[in-house]
Amino acid sequence: MSENKKKILEMLAQGKISADEAYRLLSACGEGGPEKSSRAEPDTRVKPKYLRVTVTPNANDERTHPERVNVRIPMSLVRAGIKLTALIPPEALDKANRALKEKGINFDVRDIKPDDLEGIIEALGDMEIDVDGSHGEKVKVFVE
């Protein structure tokens, strides 16, 4: 979400502008900014080649927990991995679904179809996950 859109929504939440005004402003933002960027997208967006997972220790806690991890997984391996889900027996998929539900994630693993693969991989390009661990370590998942 762009900074302008965020500001508009904040102003709406604070009651500084009405819903109609917010709608008009948001439409104006939609016509201006994002369209320009989507036009520039095909030139700038590079197909992701690797999925990277890094774990870096907290600078203050580096002596007690100095573990550092850097994993680079080729996208071709991710593709192959998703295709391998076809080999998982249905009973195991049911178990996985149940375990996910127990954790509060309502997702059916069977929904991952090889046909959706390219879409998922493209969407990964916009994703970056940052997690702060219990010992202050930072976990980052992103594509490059």
């Binding site: 080649k49 573990e67 550092r68 991890v69 850097n70 680079r72 080729p74 071709s76 991995g81 080999l87």
Partner: protein
């Protein structure tokens, strides 16, 4: 076209030793082919027995697994794993 992995570099470093080795993965492909050719009569007999026993799903599953193993090993090129801990460093790099 995706090229198969050619070399694997494994490096282990700690206070006592500093060890690194390059493994020529490209030499494994002809070896795997030879093993497959040697064992192909046995594999064929196994498939025929399973088909006669009406266990087609195991044949299908086995062939799918074989294909998956080939595809996954082919896609390993570019994999890099670095783990650094209190006791040392382990690096695996496939090129």
């Amino acid at each position: 076209m995706n090229w198969p992995p050619m070399l694997m570099h494994v490096k282990i470093k700690n206070e006592k030793k500093n060890f690194g080795i390059w493994l020529p993965l490209f030499l494994l492909f002809p070896l795997a082919l030879v093993v497959l050719l040697v064992f192909s009569p046995l594999i064929l007999i196994g498939i025929m027995v399973l088909l006669m026993l009406g266990q087609e799903r195991w044949v299908e599953w086995g062939l799918r697994c074989l294909w998956a193993a080939i595809v996954s090993s082919w896609a390993l090129r570019g994999l890099q794993v670095d783990v650094e801990g209190r006791n040392g460093l382990v690096q695996v790099n496939i090129v």
